[in-house]
């Protein structure tokens, strides 16, 4: 064996595990499709105020240039933008993933504080003023977003608005129709993508943290801790999740953050099981024994040494977990226990059969969006399972 081949082999072997998984993942078409749809959703969610808004992007009144859209951006809009930019910047940064993640979280937190202090959109929002100004000929120049209706713009200036099929109205265009309040469905769906994405990520994040800690302690200590922990897991598994969610939401009121927390604390039991099983296997291994012998603190043994080795099943479960969190939010909204005025796909879907007639556009488009998102995460989870599974990899090479 020459030195050249030896060094090649070493280089191949030294590739970090996360990169190996990523490469194996990107080879699969299903993962690509899933990631593509999630990427599109992220872009739509980030730029939703620019995509659908009643406020003009740019207008000239009496020679004065102004941008009502930027004026009306809320703190949340700015945070989404900032988080998106941070993600792009940090993506190229050559640091370990967990460092990047922590840094990203810190940056987002800082920007959230800054945005809440600085951004002060007007509290009284009159959506129809621009249309009235335009009709009166006061606007010299005006440029609207691609969909010139906000999510909560109920088109009060047009008489008798309500459920309208796509492209039914003559004086204005609603590509996907309007809902029962007269708001544009396309606009509501664009703004609702934020809720779907946010719920998916944050609720799963919370569940992941709780599940990892409890499962890790159960697996590492076993014995009495394990027995008590398993009873806890069994309790949470035997409560019908949907029912617990219903009672939480019904009794604690409706807020998006509350919903994230609730979905998070009802979904952790599965992760705890996975982590426990992995840790039970790992705790007998030499490197863990070595870490214990070195006198490392428990936190370090559990999360720096053991967790990265038991990550594979957790990753797969996370992807499916995001899908079910999105589904849970949609279900709650569908049952009329979701957010009240804010747009949500499930709530739009609910309106499809609420009136005496069946409004197909309220079923097909929001329902299709829920389906596509859930499907994307499931595809990703499936591909991830194959990518981290040593058996399928071996078969592939053979």
């Amino acid at each position: 064996m020459t030195e050249q081949t030896l060094s090649n082999q070493q280089i191949q072997r030294s590739k970090p595990w996360s990169q190996q998984v990523l490469v194996a993942l990107l080879k699969r078409n299903s993962a690509r499709i899933g990631l593509l749809w999630i990427g599109i959703l992220v872009v739509i969610a980030t730029f939703s105020p620019f995509l659908a808004s009643s406020h003009p992007l740019y207008m000239v009144v009496d020679g004065q240039i102004s941008s009502p859209l930027l004026m009306h951006m809320s703190a949340q809009d700015w945070v989404w933008l900032a988080a998106f930019i941070f993600t792009l910047v940090l993506f190229k940064w050559s640091r370990p993933v967990w460092q990047k993640l922590l840094f990203w979280l810190g940056l987002v937190a800082v920007s959230a504080v800054v945005a809440n202090v600085l951004a002060s959109p007007p509290t009284l929002i009159i959506y129809e003023q621009y249309r009235e100004m335009q009709a009166a000929g006061e606007l010299d120049k005006v440029m609207y977003a691609p969909i010139p209706y906000s999510a909560k713009d109920y088109l009060r200036d047009y008489a008798n608005t309500g459920v309208e099929a796509p492209l039914e109205a003559t004086e204005r265009t609603h590509w996907l129709g309007t809902d029962e309040n007269g708001a544009d469905v396309a606009s509501r769906m664009i703004h609702a993508s934020r809720i779907a994405l946010g719920i998916g990520f944050i609720a799963t994040g919370i569940a992941l943290v709780i599940g990892t800690i409890i499962g890790g302690l159960m697996g590492y200590f076993s014995g009495i801790v394990d027995i008590i922990g398993m009873r806890l897991v069994e309790i949470f598994e035997a409560i019908p999740t949907l029912f617990l969610l219903l009672s939480f939401v019904a009794f604690f009121g409706r807020s998006i953050y509350m919903m994230m927390v609730i979905i998070g604390i009802t979904a952790w039991s599965g992760y705890a099981r996975y982590v426990r099983a992995e840790f039970l296997k790992l705790r007998q291994q030499d490197f863990v024994q070595a870490a214990v012998a070195c006198g490392l603190p428990l936190r370090s043994i559990l999360f720096r040494h053991m967790l990265p080795n038991g990550l594979a099943p957790l990753l797969v479960a996370t992807s499916f977990g995001v899908a079910s969190a999105i589904l849970a939010e949609a279900t709650l909204s569908f049952l009329g226990l979701g957010l009240i005025d804010d747009p949500s796909w499930g709530q739009l879907l609910n309106q499809a059969v609420q009136s005496s007639t069946f409004n197909w556009w309220l079923a097909v488009f929001p329902g299709g969006a829920i389906f596509m998102t859930v499907f994307a995460y499931n595809l990703l989870g499936e591909a991830l399972r194959d990518a981290v599974d040593p058996h399928t990899n071996r078969n592939r090479q053979a």
Binding site: P240, F243, F248, A250, F252, T331, W360, G367, I370, N378
Partner: protein, 460 residues
């Protein structure tokens, strides 16, 4: 075994206590919580009578007591052994056989036991029809996919099943109602409920005008079913595909005709093409039993249609047909998700066992592939299916919450939503208790089945 059973049953008690405790804490910790005020709110009452009503509720349900006391009182009520409860709400003497009482629903003003006795059978009916259906179809599809590993059926069914699994059941329910039950499109099925009001006074089986009608109807169904079964089992693959195309196009044309009443249009072509493709791929299935199932359902549907065309009229549809007619859409909407999940599981479990050493040994001995699959591999692959059956029941119960709300079926799922929305403490706790009990019972059954099927597992 008996020892194990007893231990498991005893372990259920703390778990059930934990479940109700979690739900009770949620209710008690909520802003507003449960108090007599929330019950009286919204009623138009004079101050005195409002006060009197509040006092009455407080006394009756003990709502003015601290939360832990309320929970203990509730526990005392449901446990068969405990203190007797007097009419005025105070506790009486200790008794060993006072019987358990789930209390009275705030909102309905009726005993919770009565309400549950009314609602639970309906939900169980939905679930008990779904589970065998799911298993039969899932095993069929899974076996076929595993046999054809890497082939066209395997790859396409894999994507299709994953897609099916991702369809939210409320979307399926809404689309079913919208397209197959509403007046705007095909009005084939009822929009909700479990039976028409007239049916209550009708016979169990359908009633025909004369005996010849019965003969014609049965004959049509039998002839068509047998014909399709013969055709689908005997014909070669390409002929089967053509048969499928013809049947699908015919059905598509009839659907369009049914909707529009025009003789021809764009919709006709689209529906004919769609259904022709669907039927072509269905007839193309390599699995004989799946094909026979399709032939059977085709024969039944078309046979009844043909009989109706021949002038057979039902005097009364009867209880049985009416019930089936109402159950078709909810059952499909309830079961497709579990079906997709189980079919994928069957496939992966079969594949794992087909590659196992004992399967290779069997092949090396000269056992043919069919026997290897059914006599050696299939039995061993059933184990994960049994494990999963435990989680199937809870997910079906959760599914029936959605399905019952969409199809307005008065089952336990709908009761749960109503109870939560009206903050009906007694009802919420009881529904939690019952569904937790059913879930735990499902886990126990799965574990027992596991021991029965796998001789390696023993609980002694």
């Amino acid at each position: 075994m008996l020892n194990y059973l007893l231990r498991r049953l005893l372990l259920m008690v703390p778990t059930l206590l934990g479940i109700t405790l979690v739900v009770f804490v949620v209710m008690a910790a909520a802003p507003g919580g449960i108090s007599a005020q929330t019950l009286v709110d919204g009623m138009e009452l004079e101050p005195q009578s409002r006060k009197a009503l509040e006092d009455y509720y407080n006394k009756l349900y003990g709502l003015d007591q601290p939360a832990p006391v309320q929970y203990l009182r509730w526990l005392n009520n449901i446990s068969p052994v405990g203190f007797e409860r007097n009419v005025d709400g105070t506790l009486g003497s200790f008794s060993l056989w006072k019987g358990s009482d789930l209390g009275t629903s705030f909102r309905y003003g009726r005993a919770v036991t009565d309400l549950l006795a009314e609602r639970l059978p309906i939900t169980l009916l939905l679930n008990l029809i779904s589970i065998p259906l799911i298993y039969a179809l899932a095993v069929g599809i899974g076996v076929q996919a595993a046999r054809d590993r890497g082939g066209r059926f395997d790859v396409s069914s894999n994507i299709f099943l994953l897609g099916l699994w991702s369809v939210p059941s409320m979307l399926a329910g809404v689309l079913f109602i919208g397209f197959f039950a509403s007046e705007q499109y095909w009005r084939w099925f009822p929009t909700g409920g479990l039976m028409r009001r007239e049916t209550a006074s009708e016979t169990f089986l359908p009633l025909f005008a004369s005996f010849t009608d019965v003969l014609i109807a049965v004959g049509c169904v039998a002839v068509l079913t047998l014909l399709f079964m013969q055709l689908l089992s005997r014909l070669s693959t390409s002929n089967r595909q053509w048969l499928g195309v013809v049947i699908g196009a015919g059905l598509g044309y009839m659907m369009a005709l049914n909707l529009y009443g025009q003789w021809f249009g764009v919709l006709h072509i689209v529906l004919m093409l769609l259904l022709a493709l669907l039927m072509r791929s269905l007839c193309n299935l390599q699995n004989l039993s799946l094909r026979l199932a399709i032939a059977g359902s085709l024969g039944l549907g078309l046979g009844l249609g043909l009989a109706a065309q021949l002038g057979v009229t039902f005097l009364q549809n009867g209880y049985l047909l009416d019930r089936i007619w109402h159950l078709v859409l909810p059952i499909i909407a309830l079961s497709y998700g579990g079906l997709a999940f189980l079919a994928k599981l069957t496939r992966s479990s079969l594949l794992e066992n087909l590659a196992a050493n004992y399967a290779r040994t069997a092949r090396a001995k000269g056992v043919d592939e069919e026997s290897v699959l059914w006599r050696h591999v299939f039995r061993n692959s059933l184990l994960p299916l049994i494990t999963v059956s435990a989680t199937l029941l809870p997910s079906l119960l959760a599914g029936s919450v959605i399905i019952e709300s969409i199809f307005s079926i008065d089952g336990m799922g709908k009761l749960a939503v109503e109870a939560v929305q009206t903050r009906d403490r007694e009802l919420v706790l009881s529904v939690t208790l019952i569904s937790g009990l059913l879930t735990l019972f499902g886990y126990l059954m799965a574990d027992i089945a596991y021991a029965l099927v796998d001789p390696r597992v023993s609980y002694d």
